[in-house]
C-alpha cells in the first residue's frame, strides 16, 4: 500500500514540476496581455530563444567551473538577453502599432514567430541541442522507494518563488503598481500622465524575461529544438485563459490544475493528453466566462472603439466594374493559364469564401474566432467521408459540407456566443482543438492523422477547369449571399450588438440569438469552402482543422482589411500569392512570409481594403 502511495506522491510531484515550469512562462504572457492587451504569439518564441541562449551560454560558463552558481547565473543571463529581445520587439514593432486594431497586433506577433523560427534554424542549425544538466542536481532523490529527479524538486520550488517575487514587484514597487493600474484601466493610467511607452517597454522586458527564464530552466530536461515554440504557446494560452487573462494568481492556479491533470491523465487516458487541457478550458469557460480568477471588465479585449465594418457602402460604378473585371479574370484563368495557375486560382477562390465568412463574424459581428478552420475542416471531412466511406457522388457530398459546418457551428456557437472578447476567442480555439483531436484520434472513421485520400470530383467535373468553374460559382454565390446578409437588417443588428450589446438589447434585439445565428451562418459558409477544398486536393486530414489554418484565415482578413466588406477577398488572394511566391524560392520562406506580414501591418495598418477605401476617399475629396 505504501508503494502505491509513494507512486501517487511522485506522480503528483511530477505534475507540480511541470506546473511550475508552465506557470513561469504563462505569468509573462498574462502580464503582457494585461497591460498591453496584445495577444502575444511570440511569447513561445521567447521561450524557445531562452532555451537556445541557455544551451549556448551555460556550457560556456560551466567550462570555467562546474558549479551550480555559474549554471544559474547562465540561466539568468539567458533570460535577460531574451528580455532585451522583448524590448527590441516592443520598440521596433509593437510601439508602431498600438493604435491599430488589436487583432493586427496579434498578426504582427505571428509574423515574428515565423521569422524567429527560421532565424533559429539559421543560427543554431537544424539539430536539437541538449543542454548540460545542472551541477549538483543531476541525481535522483529517493522518495518513498521512488526515485525522483532533484532538479524537479528545485523546479517545484521555483514556481512559487517567481510568484512571490512577482507579488512583491506588483505590490511594493511603483512600476508594479503602475502595471496593475494599467491592467485595470490602461486609458486612465495614460490620462494620469504616466509614460506609457516606458511602461509598455518595461512590461515587454518582464514578459520576455519570464518566457526566457522558463525556456532556460528547461534545458536540463528537454533539448532546444525549433519546434518548441508552438508546442508551448497553446498551453501557455490555455493556462492564462483558465486562470483569467491578466491574473498572475489565476495563472498559478491554472498551471497547478493542468500539471496534475496531465500527470494523472496519462495513467487513465494515455491517448487523449492531446485534448485534455482543451476540454478543461472549454469546461472552465462555459462555467466561469472570465476564467478562474479573471474579472469581468468593461473592456474585455475591446478597450478601444469597436473595430470592424462601420458603414458598409454599396458598390459605386467604378467598383461594380472592378468586381466584374475580377469575376471575368477568375473565369478567364482556365483559358489563358496552365494547370498550376488554375489550381492556385481555385484555391484562392475557396480561401476567399472562408475568409469572407470569418470576416462576417469578426468584422461585422465583433466575434473574433481563433478556430474558424474547425468549420472549414468539418465541412471537408463531411464531404470526404461521404464520398469515400458511403460511396456518394460529389454533388450531394458538397451539399452536406455547409450543413455539417453549420450544424457544428450551431452546437459550439451556443456556448461560444455567451462569452466576450479574448475569452470568446479562446473558447473557439478550444472547440476547434477538440474537433481536431477527434479527427486525429478516431482512426477507424477519419483515418487519423494520415487522413483519407481519394476524395476526387465526379467524372464530369474532374478536369481542373471544370472544377474551377464549379468553385467560382459556389464560392461566388456564397460570398454574394453573405454580403447580402451584411447589408440586410440582420447584418445591421449584428453590428449594433457588436458596438453596444446593452443598447442593442434595449431596442429589442435579441443579441445572443443574433450572434448565435450569425456564428452558424459563418460556419456553414466555411463548411462549404472546406467541402470545395477537399475535392480540389483529393484528400482530407486533420491539418484542415488546425490552428495554423485558422491563423492563415485571420491573416487573410487582416491583410485585406477587416473594416471593409470585400477586403477579405483581396486578402485571401494576397496572402496565398505571397506564400506561393516565396515557397519555391527558398527554405527560409517562413522568414519571408513573416517579414511580409509585418511589412504589410506597418504599411497598411487598415489592410489592403482599408488602403483602397482611403484612396477612394481622397480621390473623391470626402472624409475617409
Amino acid at each position: 500500500m505504501s508503494v502505491e502511495f509513494g507512486f501517487l506522491l511522485v506522480q503528483c510531484l511530477s505534475g507540480l514540476a511541470s506546473a511550475s515550469s508552465l506557470f513561469i512562462i504563462a505569468s509573462g504572457l498574462t502580464l503582457v496581455f494585461g497591460v498591453t492587451r496584445i495577444v502575444n504569439f511570440a511569447h513561445g518564441s521567447f521561450y524557445m530563444l531562452g532555451a537556445y541562449m541557455a544551451v549556448t551560454i551555460v556550457p560556456w560558463l560551466l567550462q570555467i567551473e562546474r558549479s551550480p552558481t555559474l549554471f544559474f547565473a547562465g540561466v539568468l543571463i539567458s533570460a535577460c538577453v531574451v528580455g532585451v529581445l522583448g524590448v527590441l520587439m516592443e520598440i521596433l514593432l509593437l510601439r508602431r502599432i498600438y493604435k491599430v486594431p488589436e487583432l493586427f497586433q496579434l498578426l504582427a506577433t505571428f509574423g515574428v514567430v515565423l521569422m524567429v523560427q527560421d532565424a533559429v534554424l539559421h543560427i543554431w542549425g537544424p539539430l536539437d541541442i541538449a543542454g548540460p544538466r545542472a551541477p549538483g542536481l543531476r541525481h535522483g532523490v529517493m522518495i518513498l522507494d521512488q526515485r525522483f529527479p532533484a532538479y524537479d524538486l528545485f523546479l517545484i520550488a521555483a514556481g512559487p518563488v517567481v510568484l512571490g517575487l512577482l507579488w512583491l514587484l506588483m505590490h511594493k514597487t511603483r512600476f508594479g503598481i503602475l502595471l496593475r493600474a494599467a491592467t485595470r484601466d490602461r486609458d486612465m493610467v495614460g490620462a494620469l500622465g504616466v509614460n506609457q511607452a516606458l511602461l509598455f517597454t518595461g512590461t515587454l522586458f518582464l514578459g520576455a524575461f519570464l518566457a526566457g527564464l522558463g525556456g532556460a530552466l528547461q534545458i536540463p530536461r528537454v533539448s532546444a529544438s525549433a519546434q518548441m515554440d508552438l508546442s508551448i504557446i497553446t498551453e501557455a494560452f490555455v493556462v492564462t485563459v483558465i486562470g483569467g487573462m491578466g491574473s498572475i494568481g489565476g495563472a498559478f492556479l491554472a498551471a497547478l490544475l493542468i500539471g496534475q491533470l496531465q500527470a494523472f491523465g496519462v495513467l487513465i487516458f494515455p491517448k487523449i493528453t492531446l485534448v485534455l487541457v482543451f476540454l478543461l478550458m472549454a469546461l472552465v469557460l462555459v462555467v466561469k466566462p472570465w476564467g478562474l480568477l479573471g474579472r469581468p471588465e468593461n473592456a474585455a479585449g475591446l478597450s478601444a472603439l469597436p473595430e470592424g465594418i462601420m458603414q458598409p457602402r454599396g458598390f459605386a460604378a467604378a467598383e461594380k466594374l472592378l468586381v466584374l473585371l475580377a469575376v471575368l479574370a477568375a473565369a478567364a484563368v482556365p483559358i489563358f493559364g496552365d494547370t498550376y495557375a488554375i489550381k492556385v486560382a481555385t484555391e484562392v477562390l475557396i480561401f476567399a469564401l472562408a475568409a469572407f465568412s470569418l470576416n462576417f463574424l469578426v468584422g461585422n459581428g465583433g466575434i473574433v474566432s481563433f478556430g474558424h478552420a474547425a468549420y472549414f475542416g468539418l465541412g471537408a471531412y463531411a464531404s470526404g467521408l461521404l464520398v469515400t466511406k458511403l460511396g456518394m457522388p460529389m454533388e450531394p457530398a458538397l451539399i452536406a459540407a455547409p450543413l455539417v459546418g453549420g450544424l457544428f457551428a450551431a452546437l459550439f456557437g451556443f456556448f461560444i456566443v455567451r462569452l466576450q472578447g479574448i475569452y470568446l476567442a479562446m473558447l473557439t480555439l478550444a472547440f476547434a482543438q477538440i474537433a481536431y483531436a477527434v479527427c486525429f484520434q478516431w482512426v477507424e472513421v477519419t483515418g487519423g492523422d494520415n487522413g483519407i485520400v481519394g476524395v476526387w470530383p465526379s467524372a464530369w467535373a474532374a478536369s481542373h477547369s471544370t472544377y474551377h468553374y464549379i468553385v467560382l460559382v459556389a464560392a461566388g454565390l456564397g460570398i454574394f449571399a453573405l454580403r447580402h446578409v451584411i447589408y440586410a437588417p440582420f447584418g445591421a443588428s449584428l453590428r449594433a450588438a457588436r458596438d453596444s450589446a446593452p443598447r442593442a438589447e434595449a431596442i429589442g434585439i435579441d443579441v445572443r440569438a443574433h450572434r448565435w445565428l450569425g456564428f452558424t451562418i459563418a460556419g456553414a459558409a466555411a463548411g462549404l469552402a472546406g467541402g470545395l477544398y477537399a475535392f480540389s486536393k483529393g484528400s482530407i486530414d486533420p491539418t484542415l482543422l488546425g490552428i495554423p489554418l485558422s491563423v492563415d484565415f485571420l491573416a487573410m482578413i487582416l491583410l485585406g482589411g477587416m473594416q471593409t466588406v470585400m477586403g477579405p477577398v483581396l486578402g485571401a488572394a494576397a496572402f496565398h500569392s505571397i506564400k506561393d511566391v516565396f515557397m519555391p524560392l527558398t527554405d527560409h520562406w517562413r522568414f519571408l512570409l513573416g517579414a511580409s506580414i509585418i511589412a504589410l501591418v506597418l504599411i497598411f495598418p487598415r489592410g489592403l481594403g482599408g488602403a483602397y477605401a482611403a484612396l477612394r476617399a481622397r480621390l473623391s475629396g470626402g472624409a475617409p
Binding site: 506522480q11 536539437d128 529544438s225 518548441m228 494515455p270 493528453t273 489550381k343 484528400s539 519555391p584 520562406w589
Partner: protein, 407 residues
C-alpha cells in the same frame, strides 16, 4: 555478408550511374537536354533530416553528371521544393513541379500524411512518385497504387528488425511508449503482433502515447515505471526522446531492463543525446563510422570532405535514392512514366549499401538499415555490434500484400 564478395560488388557499383559514365569515357561531361526530377520535402520543418538528405542528393547528381550523366549523356537535375509539411501544400507544390518546372516525375516527402496525399495525387495524374522517407505501411499496402514506390524500410520492416534482434530473450512483460500519431501507433500495433512470435508468452502490460513533440516526460516515465515491465519498446524520437531518456536515466527506468528503440541509432536523433545516451538499447540506426564496403566508406569520406560534417541517415538515403533513380533512367531509357513504372518493377541497383531491389508486388525497396546496441564513446552516442539488416528479409509476407492491395 562475405566481405570480399561485398567489396568486389561495391567496386563494380559505386553508383550504377557511373557504369554508364565509364562507357562514355572518363570525365566526359553530360550533353543533351537535362532530365529534371522534382524533389519535394520538409526542408524547413524537418531540416535535421532533410538538409543532409539534399546535400547528398546534390553530391550524387554532380558525380553522375561529371561522369557523363544518364541515358547516354544527359544531365540529371533535381528541382528541390519545400512541401510545406502539410498535405494540401504538398499537393499544390507537386502540381507546380509537374506543370511549371516540367519535371519528368516527382520524389521525396517526409511526413506520412504528406506522402499519402502526394501518392494519391500521383495516381490521379498517372505520374511516378518515388517516395523516399515516409514510413507509413499504408503507402505500399492498403493505399498503395501503381505509381507510388518507396525506398526506405517501412515501419513494419523496422519493427520486425528490432523484434528479430530480441528473439531468444526471456523478457515477458513489455511496456510500449510511442508518439501519438500514425507512425507511433502502427509501430506499436506491429510490435504487438510480432513480439509473441519472437518471445513466446510475451505480453503488453502498459502503453503510453504522449502527443508528438510535447511529451510530459516525468509523468510518462513515472507511469511506465509503475507498471514494472521487464522490457520497453520505444518509438519516441527527436526532442521527445531526449526528454524521455534524461528523465528515465535520472529515475532509473532503464536499469536492468531491455529496451528496443526505433530510429534511436540514427545520428539525427543520437547526436542530441550526447553523454546521456543509454547503454545497451537495441536500436535501428546508422553507424556511419563502422560501415563495411569500400563504396560506402568512400561515400562517407567524400561527404565529410565536401560538407565538413558527418553523414546522417538522411545523407545515406539521399545518395542511394539518386543511385536508384539514375539506374532506373538508364534501364528505362525513356521518360514515359508508364515505362518508368514498369522498369522499376523488381529493378536491381548496386548502391553504396549493396543491392537494392524495388520489390514489384508491393513496390517497396529492399534498402535496409543497421541494427545494433547503443553505447558511448568520448561522451557521444554510437552503436556497437551493428550489422546491416537487408530489407529484403523483413518485408511483409507476399500473401499479406496481395490481400491488402487487392482493394
Amino acid at each position: 555478408m562475405d566481405s570480399i564478395f561485398f567489396r568486389r560488388r561495391a567496386l563494380l557499383a559505386g553508383g550504377a550511374g557511373l557504369a554508364a559514365a565509364a562507357a562514355a569515357g572518363r570525365g566526359a561531361a553530360a550533353q543533351g537536354a537535362p532530365i529534371r526530377i522534382g524533389e519535394l520535402n520538409s526542408y524547413s520543418r524537418m531540416a535535421a533530416f532533410c538538409i543532409p538528405y539534399r546535400n547528398a542528393m546534390r553530391m550524387a547528381a554532380e558525380r553522375i553528371n561529371a561522369a557523363g550523366g544518364v541515358m547516354g549523356g544527359r544531365r540529371l537535375e533535381f528541382v528541390f521544393r519545400d512541401d510545406g509539411s502539410t498535405p494540401s501544400d504538398a499537393v499544390r507544390v507537386a502540381e507546380e513541379l509537374l506543370t511549371r518546372e516540367n519535371v519528368s516525375f516527382i520524389a521525396g516527402t517526409f511526413l506520412s500524411n504528406v506522402g499519402l496525399a502526394v501518392a494519391d495525387f500521383a495516381n490521379q495524374r498517372k505520374r511516378l512518385f518515388f517516395a523516399t522517407e515516409p514510413l507509413s505501411d499504408a503507402l505500399t499496402m492498403a493505399q498503395g497504387n501503381r505509381y507510388t514506390w518507396r525506398l526506405r524500410p517501412s515501419t513494419f520492416m523496422q519493427t520486425r528488425m528490432l523484434v528479430e534482434a530480441a528473439r531468444g530473450r526471456t523478457q515477458k512483460r513489455w511496456a510500449i511508449v510511442a508518439p501519438n500519431y500514425e507512425y507511433g501507433q502502427s509501430a506499436a500495433a506491429n510490435f504487438k503482433r510480432l513480439i509473441g512470435g519472437a518471445i513466446p508468452g510475451a505480453e503488453i502490460i502498459a502503453e503510453q502515447y504522449p502527443a508528438l513533440g510535447r511529451v510530459d516526460a516525468g509523468a510518462t516515465v513515472g507511469a511506465l515505471a509503475q507498471a514494472r515491465p521487464d522490457a520497453i519498446f520505444n518509438v519516441l524520437f527527436g526532442p521527445d526522446l531526449t526528454a524521455f531518456v534524461r528523465e528515465g536515466n535520472t529515475r532509473g527506468l532503464f536499469e536492468r531492463r531491455l529496451v528496443l528503440s526505433m530510429l534511436t541509432g540514427e545520428p539525427e536523433y543520437m547526436i542530441p543525446l550526447g553523454d546521456e545516451t543509454p547503454e545497451g538499447w537495441i536500436v535501428t540506426g546508422y553507424p556511419w563510422d563502422q560501415v563495411e564496403g569500400a563504396a560506402h566508406r568512400a561515400f562517407v569520406e567524400a561527404y565529410r570532405a565536401r560538407f565538413n560534417d558527418t553523414p546522417r541517415k538522411g545523407s545515406l538515403l539521399g545518395y542511394v535514392t539518386v543511385q536508384v533513380l539514375a539506374n532506373l533512367l538508364n534501364q528505362a531509357n525513356s521518360l514515359d512514366n508508364e515505362v518508368l513504372v514498369d522498369t522499376l518493377r523488381d529493378l536491381r541497383t548496386e548502391t553504396v549499401v549493396g543491392n537494392v531491389t524495388m520489390r514489384g508486388i508491393d513496390q517497396q525497396g529492399s534498402m535496409g538499415t543497421w541494427v545494433g546496441e547503443t553505447t558511448q564513446r568520448n561522451g557521444q552516442g554510437t552503436m556497437r555490434n551493428a550489422r546491416y539488416a537487408d530489407g529484403a528479409d523483413f518485408m511483409f509476407p507476399e500473401e499479406e500484400v496481395r490481400a491488402a492491395r487487392r482493394a
